[in-house]
Amino acid sequence: MMETSKQLHPGLWDTINERYPGSMITKDDYVPLAKLGKPVAESRLAFVSSAGVQPKGTLPFDVAHPVGDYNFRRVPSSSEPSELEIHQLKYPTVGANRDRNVILPIERLQELAREGVIGGLTPNFYSFIGYNMDPERLERTLAEEIAEAVADDGTEIALLAPA
């Protein structure tokens, strides 16, 4: 029995797996840890989000597609929260609707970069929607495409928020 007692919504994996059988990522192995090449204060950070945040004016994520949307959007790391909008249906946005930083803490990251706590931000952050029914397709396509783009952006450390 896994320890999930402190989780606000316990048993999420079981609930989602019941509703959408086969949609959940389950791994049996662990990937080797990459080493920090230099201190965080000198490292360029990328942020990756599955919260469906996107710049206003970009094609909205397809939230109605039966198997999900396997595309991603670039979110310029210099964006202001007012330039961003959210397209997704699967998590409560009551907080993020009032302050985007609740789900994509872009202003906090900009501050930390300005203060030199982190070395800088990659030009873009990366965003997609977590509603994807085919985890193998996700791993084969979207995960690889984002990982390539993140690496091409000169990323030295990455922070992710799986919504």
């Binding site: 999420l12 959940m24 990937v31 803490p105 906090r108 995960a143 922070l159 919504a163």
Partner: protein, 95 residues
């Protein structure tokens, strides 16, 4: 996703509100916050808490650990909400 990025050489850490899902997906490093879905960095306008969660996550990159470790942040959703309400009152957004 996180595994694919880590495998290209950049250390990664995620913030999760669903510990049970993260236990199965086995990303290299994660911090768990016991918050409502969609509220990984806390509550609106609570900059100090948002910042703390980022810094706690980043601090995991500097620790020597084992792949798959999930670190539980000692936070409470009830307290975060209470603090958020106080902040909104001080900002004049709430009575």
């Amino acid at each position: 996703m996180q595994r694919a990025i880590e495998q290209r050489g950049a250390p990664t850490v995620s913030i999760t509100v669903a510990r049970d899902i993260t236990e199965r997906a086995k990303p290299p490093r994660a911090v768990f916050v016991p918050f409502m879905m969609g509220h990984h960095f806390g509550v609106p306008f609570h900059s100090r808490l948002q910042r703390r969660i980022i810094l706690e996550a980043l601090s995991r990159l500097q620790k020597v650990g084992e792949s798959g470790e999930i670190y539980d942040l000692p936070l409470s959703w009830a307290q975060a909400r209470r603090e958020g309400i106080e902040i909104e009152r001080a900002m004049g957004l709430r009575h």
